[in-house]
């Protein structure tokens, strides 16, 4: 599903990613862990195609296709989804209207028929309920006045609505209490499927108690330093990033 080869990325002329290699097959959930400043968010923004994240060498293949020339909206339409660490507050844009516009933009780009307002609302409401997202929240401006947990739940709701083939969750656990983490993890686990790949980016091992990954990768100083099974996360928790060493497995 996702093949990253020797990826070098610069932001504002400064090289942040220095040769990342990562392969995530369909049906698997991988975790990328790393200390602050290791390049975790750069990796997620680069995958999403944000302006200013310049791929200087290497490649990102998604379903065998090179993503690097595609705009963020085209990547979304092709089934890529990024749950942001800091979802953006947008006053004046109602949440439900945003969800409808986004869903139909993706459908339009794929040549599918757009869905009517009633159909979208019904679809959204069903999924929102399970995430404890109220009607009142959906009527509010996008993310405005939402608590940290509400914002993250809305990210998960979007993932469920857009049904991506590849989802990257960037520090979705940050700022959440344990109940909120469980709720988010339930949403993510419900999305696991043979045809979907997910990358969970996190600083802490805690989230991985609830979303158990097939593989764990340690990102440090712009490179994948080590890879292993779920036990690697526990090891990191015990020993800290400083004491993990060794070539990528």
């Amino acid at each position: 599903m996702l093949e990253i080869k020797d990826l070098h990325v610069s932001v504002g002329g400064k090289e942040i990613l220095k040769g990342v290699n990562l392969s995530v097959p369909a049906g698997e959930v991988h975790a990328v862990m790393g200390p602050n400043g290791s390049g975790k968010s750069t990796l997620s923004y680069t995958l999403a195609g944000r302006d200013g994240y310049e791929v200087t060498s290497g490649s990102i293949l998604y379903k065998g296709e090179d993503l690097s020339s595609l705009s963020p909206d085209m990547r979304a339409a092709k089934g890529f989804f990024l749950a942001l660490q800091y979802p953006v507050e947008i006053p004046g844009v109602a949440t439900l209207m945003f969800l409808k516009t986004a869903l139909n933009s993706q459908r339009r780009a794929r040549g599918e028929a757009e869905l009517g307002a009633m159909k979208v609302m019904k679809f959204v409401r069903e999924k929102a309920k399970a995430l404890n997202i109220t009607e009142e929240m959906l009527r509010r401006p996008l993310n405005v006045g939402f608590s940290g947990g509400e914002k993250k739940r809305l990210e998960i709701l979007q993932m469920e609505i857009f049904e991506p083939s590849l989802a990257v969750l960037d520090e979705t656990d940050s700022g959440l209490d344990i109940d909120a983490i469980k709720l988010v993890a339930e949403g993510v686990n419900a999305m696991r499927s043979d045809t979907r790949a997910m990358v969970v980016i996190t600083h802490y091992q805690r989230l991985l108690d609830y979303i158990v990954p097939q593989r764990v990768h340690v990102l440090r100083a712009g490179k994948i330093e080590k890879s292993g099974g779920p036990e690697l996360a526990k090891e990191l928790e015990k020993q800290g990033y400083e004491n993990i060493s060794g070539a990528a497995a």
């Binding site: 999403a48 195609g49 944000r50 302006d51 705009s71 963020p72 909206d73 990547r75 979304a76 339409a77 990024l82 942001l84 979802p87 953006v88 947008i90 006053p91 004046g92 844009v93 945003f98 516009t101 986004a102 869903l103 933009s105 993706q106 780009a109 401006p141 979007q158 857009f162």
Partner: protein, 448 residues
């Protein structure tokens, strides 16, 4: 009245002055002594400022004199049988409105819904001894002093316009649409017109004012507007300026609000080469309140200036002003808001907010709040924010599959929404968004 009274005049000031010197005797109502003395006072008031340049403090950001051509001729009325260029795209006309169309400042026709019998309309090109007393009582007392130089000129050189009275306690009458059509006709023109709007005690009116232009020649459309709201009167005023690309548009409004009168205005600047709305509002008695919302959306070289003076002259008066601009290309907006709280005007409550989105590297917004407070126990707030579209918000929307042009459009609409929401609705709201989208079309690039 001869040129000798003003020995040294720059050519732009002379344009008005010479017109007055040559034609004063032939202007409407020339034989009426009350009007003649007001016109005399007005041309003198204009001469004190002259044609505004940047050296006039309140015109610091808008150089009308430099933009004006030397050889504009006074516009004349269209004669019966001459085809008036249609206001093809009005769209802003409310359903069921009475439509008063003025062409180059001259009353042309009254159409649409029948005029309420509680509303009186007087053609200012036809002033005579038979003109009703209420016109004489009010015409030319506002928007005619040196602080509104172009307003003064519009009175001195007034060729046409309308006076409208809504009689006491008149409510729920059809909206009134003042439809200004401003074609330039084979050469550069200047028009000077006045509107007097009098709402007697307890009267309510929904007024829509549109300005549309056409033609390749320069046109100076100069309008002076007097708004008199008696006790408990209620005026909602929606104004849509979409002049042609070479037009210089100046409107000077002088409004006076009596006890518990309420004035709400939406000002949309969508066209013209240079436009200036010069608005003086006097909250003359307790309980008077004014709400202004200005929306400017411009591209190219267009320049729109909204300059207001909010005069809290009595206790317990309230004003709210919100100025919003979205600018593309080399467009420029100027928002100046002065709030004066006079001695004794306790419990005055005013707030001003200026916001601009600059969407072109050479777009410019100038915002200038100004407070003059001579009373205690008042609340006066203001804020200013000028910036670009939020890059985080733009990325967020795009990462959800929304194409860049649509994401930009959503953010622009979100930005302007709170200035527009609750003011206009239905077809007028749709028309306004359509004009805004069109004005900003170049930033939407791939928009279908």
């Amino acid at each position: 009245m001869t040129a000798q009274a003003f020995p040294i005049l720059d050519p732009k000031t002379a344009l008005f002055h010479d017109d007055y010197a040559a034609n004063a005797a032939d202007l409407p109502g020339a034989g009426l002594s009350w009007l003649q003395s007001r016109r005399e006072a007005a041309i003198k008031a204009f001469a004190r400022t002259g044609m505004p340049t940047r050296h006039v403090e309140s015109w610091k950001y808008s150089d009308l004199s430099a933009a004006l051509e030397n050889d504009l001729e006074p516009a004349t009325a269209f004669r019966a049988g001459v085809e008036v260029p249609a206001a093809t795209e009005v769209g802003f006309s409310p359903v069921g409105a009475t439509q008063i169309t003025l062409v180059n400042g001259f009353l042309h026709l009254i159409g649409g819904a029948e005029l309420s019998k509680f509303v009186d309309v007087v053609d200012l090109a036809q002033l005579s001894v038979r003109t009703p007393e209420w016109v004489e009582k009010h015409l030319g007392l506002h928007a005619s002093a040196a602080d509104q130089a172009l307003g003064a000129a519009s009175l001195a050189l007034m060729r046409g316009g309308v006076a409208i009275r809504v009689r006491a306690n008149t409510k729920e009458i059809p909206p009134l649409h003042l439809n200004f059509v401003n074609p330039s006709r084979g050469h550069g023109l200047m028009s000077h017109a006045r509107v007097l709007l009098l709402l007697e005690e307890g009267a309510s009116l929904d007024l829509v004012e549109t300005h549309q232009g056409s033609g390749e020649y320069q046109l100076l459309a100069n309008l002076g507007m007097e708004i008199v709201l008696h006790k408990n009167a209620n005026l909602t005023h929606s104004r849509f300026q979409e002049e042609a690309g070479r037009t210089l548009h100046v409107t000077s409004i002088g409004a006076e609000l009596s006890r518990d009168a309420n004035y709400r205005a939406l000002i949309a600047n969508l066209g013209g080469r240079l436009s200036r709305l010069d608005m003086n509002i006097k909250l003359a008695e307790p309980g008077a309140s004014a709400t202004l919302r200005s929306v400017t959306a411009l591209d190219g070289e267009a320049h729109a200036d909204v300059t207001t003076v909010m005069d809290h002259a009595a206790p317990h008066t309230t004003s709210r002003e919100l100025f919003k601009s979205v600018l593309v290309g080399r467009a420029r907006s100027v928002s100046q808001g002065k709030v004066t709280v006079r001695e004794g005007a306790v419990k005055s409550d005013s707030h001003q907010l200026f916001k601009a989105l600059l969407l072109g590297p050479r777009a410019e917004a100038d915002a200038k709040p100004e407070l003059e407070i001579f009373a205690d126990d008042v609340v006066c707030g203001h804020g200013t924010a000028i910036g670009a579209l939020d890059a985080d918000a733009l990325f967020y929307l795009r990462s959800r599959g929304i194409p860049e042009w649509e994401a930009r459009s959503m953010l622009v609409r979100a930005f302007l929404g709170d200035a527009i929401d609750g003011f206009v609705e239905g077809g007028i709201l749709d028309a306004l968004w359509q004009r805004i989208d069109r004005a900003l079309d170049s930033i939407y690039g791939g928009a279908e």
